[in-house]
């Protein structure tokens, strides 16, 4: 063989690895180095934005497993985030649990809530399931308001600053590290979950659930697993969000957020871990752009222009992506990579 061009894999393990070439590993280390040195040269404002992006990425990973891979559409993701967030907030504030125990407990509670509201998915799909998950969102928020003695109802609930051991995560930089660690872990897990037997079962269910059942995939078990995993991710994201503000409030989990998470998935590209990250980053940055442009526009046009700009631009972006780029940013990125890989001998088929 002597010398060869391009990436050649010599074993099955090599072929299956996520990071196959030296370039991949190099890029990974460069990125991680960049990510974890961010607090050294970024302002607090930038760190806040990146923390929020990290939380959104975790949440969208969960939705991606549930919707992008398993095909069970959920527009109640913010509701499940609220379950996880409130559970860990209550454990911390009322029962005095340390943060690092409360967070996984919160995630588990969200997962259990996901199992309960995932039950209808065994009988229904498509639009019906969307309605069931929208209902889940509203019922969860309503329940939180009703349980005023535990959750503080509409007034919210303040939570002590998170601490791991003796380190109190009070600064933005500390919390940024925590969220980024979780984001990287969540990404790695998400990427690997979909490559296991479970992940392949999810894909089979998404593509044709009847055919999957005939092949011997238990719909009952795998659909609920998808709900559980997706909602555990939501729970982690919700906990991180609440502990970031040290305050739990239902305003942090509005219905529209559930829609945006799905929007992020569409913009990024469904059924792709990279797509989930791309979508979350793209829409969050758009949000920031709107927050910057909004006040200028409000001053120039009308006071309500900023609020309407946010709604209209989000809506239009989702519409435009669905009509012109239904497979999302990830697909476009793959096309660009393929173009340069073949260049200058690419040809149209």
């Amino acid at each position: 063989m002597g010398s060869h061009f391009g990436a050649v894999q010599e074993s099955y393990a090599q072929d299956l690895a996520i990071f196959r070439t030296k370039l991949h590993w190099g890029a990974l280390f460069a990125f991680l180095l960049f990510l974890f040195t961010c607090p050294l040269f970024f302002s607090d404002r930038m760190l806040t934005i990146m923390t929020m992006i990290g939380i959104a990425v975790i949440s969208v990973h969960g939705l991606n497993i549930l919707t992008g891979y398993c095909g069970q559409i959920s527009i109640g993701h913010a509701g499940f985030m609220a379950v996880g967030g409130y559970a860990s907030a209550i454990l911390c504030a009322k029962l005095g649990f340390p943060f690092w125990i409360a967070l996984p407990c919160g995630a588990l509670t969200a997962g259990i809530a996901g199992l309960i509201f995932g039950l209808p998915s065994l009988k229904i799909k498509g639009f019906y399931l969307i309605m069931a998950t929208i209902a889940a969102q509203f019922i969860i928020i309503w329940t939180i308001i009703q349980l005023r003695s535990i959750t503080g109802g509409p007034d919210g609930l303040s939570v002590p600053k998170p601490a791991i051991g003796s380190i109190v995560l009070s600064s933005k930089a500390n919390y940024f590290y925590l969220v980024m660690a979780f984001t990287c872990l969540a990404t790695l897990l998400a990427k690997n979950i979909v490559r296991t037997r479970t992940g392949r079962a999810f894909i089979a269910i998404r593509d044709n659930d009847l055919a999957a059942e005939v092949m011997g995939i238990s719909l009952w078990s795998y659909k609920l697993q998808a709900f559980f995993i997706g909602c555990v991710y939501a729970g982690v994201a919700g906990s991180l969000l609440i502990h970031y503000y040290s305050f739990a409030s239902i305003d942090q989990f509005p219905f529209m957020d559930s829609v945006w998470y799905l929007g992020m998935l569409i913009v990024g590209g469904m059924g792709s871990t990279t797509g989930a990250i791309m979508g979350a980053v793209a829409l969050r940055l758009l949000d920031e752009l709107i927050t910057m442009v909004g006040p200028i526009l409000s001053a120039a046009v009308a006071p309500q222009a900023a609020a309407s700009l946010a709604l209209i631009s989000h809506g239009l972006i989702i519409i435009i992506f669905l009509i012109f780029e239904p497979r999302g940013l990830h697909h476009r990125w793959e096309m660009i990579k393929a173009y340069f890989r073949l260049w200058p001998f690419s040809h149209e088929e």
Binding site: A132, I134, L322
Partner: protein, 295 residues
């Protein structure tokens, strides 16, 4: 007993408006198999249009209805042509998601034009007082009841006796057969969106007459979904019956249970509880077709 009957009567009128709004949803679904999440936002636009034409332009009620219907026709045509037609044949999720996005755009437009403010105009609708025994029927409920019954009746006649109405029913039955006899499916889709936006806008004016126009009108759309699910998504009669049932149930439940619950607001979450129960125990609703799937 009087309290109960009072709740039932106002609930009946409210339910009829829900049924009207839900009809728009069912018609789009039957004709083009698109789930229109934006139905509630047609109601929102309707509520604000009612304010604009009644208060800002000072038109009488019939003039308002006429102008609102004209606006609704233009809105329906534009939405179908620009947003829905490029997605014909795409997966269910894409179509649902595009209507969700459409809903946010409509909400944004309403915020931009009317400033998301509360606009009341219930004093401007004509007042009719009706007293049955010890129950007094509020004027707004009565007007809502009359207008929605008339609209539903016109819609039924339209679907039964006009050429395009028959074409729409045929499309709901079998798209390929309809196309083979030379009916343009796109026309049918356009008309179904126009009808949905008209009934939404009329519903909006009626509800705006009861509670004033504000951004919460869009949530009525969610109640319409509960109605649709309860009645069976592809049944027009089902939507009417379920609308009335849900309107009455909601009013009675809120009337009796709200004082017992600390936070209140049961009327808001009630449709969702109905929705979940229906979805778990009878996913195809009271009158819906049970779909048999084959690979």
């Amino acid at each position: 007993m009087t309290f109960f009957l009072q709740l039932v009567v106002t609930g009946f009128a409210l339910g009829m408006i829900y049924a009207l709004i839900a009809l728009g949803f069912v018609i789009i679904l039957k004709c083009s198999e698109a789930f229109n999440i934006a139905q509630g936002h047609f109601v929102l636009i309707g509520g604000y249009l009612g304010y604009t034409f009644l208060v800002t332009f000072g038109l009488p009620i019939w003039g308002t209805l006429l102008m609102a219907i004209l606006t609704a026709i233009i809105m329906g045509l534009l939405i179908e042509r620009l947003i829905l037609r490029p997605l014909v044949g795409q997966p269910v999720l894409a179509v649902i998601m595009v209507t969700i996005a459409l809903a946010t755009v409509l909400g944004g437009l309403a915020t931009l034009i009317w400033g998301a403010e509360y606009k009341a105009y219930h004093g401007l609708l004509p007042t009719i007082n009706l007293q049955i025994g010890s129950i007094s029927v509020p004027s707004e409920s009565l007007i809502g009841l009359i207008v929605s019954i008339v609209t539903v009746a016109i819609l039924m006649l339209f679907l039964r006796y006009t050429k395009i109405g028959l074409a729409m029913r045929a499309t709901a039955e079998d798209l390929q057969v309809v196309q083979s006899v030379g009916i343009k499916a796109t026309t049918v889709y356009a008309v179904s969106w126009v009808i949905a936006s008209i009934v939404g806008v009329i519903g909006g004016i009626l509800l705006g007459g009861v509670s004033g126009a504000n951004m919460e009108l869009a949530e009525i759309g969610l109640k319409a979904f509960a109605v649709v699910l309860l009645g069976g998504v592809n049944s027009i009669g089902g939507a009417i019956v379920a609308g009335i049932i849900l309107g009455m149930l909601e009013n009675v439940a809120a009337g009796y249970l709200d004082p017992l619950l600390p936070g209140g607001g049961l009327a808001k979450v009630f449709p969702f509880i109905v929705m979940i129960i229906v979805l778990i125990f009878r996913p195809y609703g009271l009158f819906g077709l049970v779909r048999i799937e084959r690979i």
